[in-house]
Symmetry: C2
Subunit: 153 residues, 2 copies
């Protein structure tokens, strides 16, 4: 993970669909070198994939929420089972396993408030390991797909 790798990663974070030749030119190496580096980054697991960022409303997901969930008992079996369950639900776009008061935070998106409510009541609250959950609506979601490097790194 030298400076060249970082530069390639940065470019691919910024725009994953630009040509390998463009990236090579920007980072200052031959296209063949850049391609080999990228292949190795993928192989090493540094690059996990390339994904299009889609407007949620275009996917009929105009309403989003964060749901804090507490489960009991706090055993590995229960945690893994709930994690897998949540991750498998189509309305769920992310699962955070947490330390602190809440055991999970689930990022959920639905077509409208009615369907969000139905999801919470019909799917989530069915699970017997849940001893409590709190839902907070998301007004706005600003994601940083191209984060600036950390100061002291």
């Amino acid at each position: 993970m030298d400076e060249l790798d970082s530069a390639i990663v940065r470019e691919l974070q910024r725009d994953a669909r630009q040509s390998n030749r463009d990236i090579a030119r920007k980072v200052g190496v031959a296209p063949s070198t850049c391609l080999e580096r990228t292949r190795l980054l993928r192989e090493r697991g540094v690059i996990r994939g390339y994904h299009a960022d889609i407007t949620p409303s275009a996917l009929n997901r105009g309403v989003q929420a964060l749901v804090s969930v507490q489960v009991r008992p706090l055993s590995r079996a229960v945690i893994d089972a709930f994690k897998a369950f949540a991750h498998g639900l189509p309305e769920v776009t992310a699962v955070f396993v947490m330390a602190g008061n809440d055991d999970f935070v689930i990022h959920v998106s639905a077509q409208d408030n009615d369907r969000l409510h139905a999801f919470l009541v019909d799917r989530l609250s069915q699970r017997k390991e849940i001893v409590g959950f709190r839902t907070s609506i998301i007004f706005q979601h600003l994601a940083k797909h191209d984060p600036a490097p950390l100061p002291g790194a």
Copy 2:
């Protein structure tokens, strides 16, 4: 946004770096048609960009947290200012503007616990509009970059 558009979007969510020809073959149209559709999806803002998904530890971001923040007064000026401030910090990878008890939830990632703590104390808590915040460490973060379509959609 017909069935063909959805299929193209699905493919680009799954793998944004596959060739236009491959996508065209999978969705069953000519490459030129597929390219034109993709161009329009971008132009309409449905596709917001293409980004590489990078392992956080490779970016020196091994520790992640969700920080719930309350600010006062709850005016547009204060909310917009804090939102811009948070979004500009390099440790911040996402900002959620919320309804409910918390006004913001901030997704933060740092190199280690020390730097996370330093960030919270030196950067975040400096802001005078903050009247309270609560930090929860993230043990695990499962994101779904290729969500299954919603049932009733």
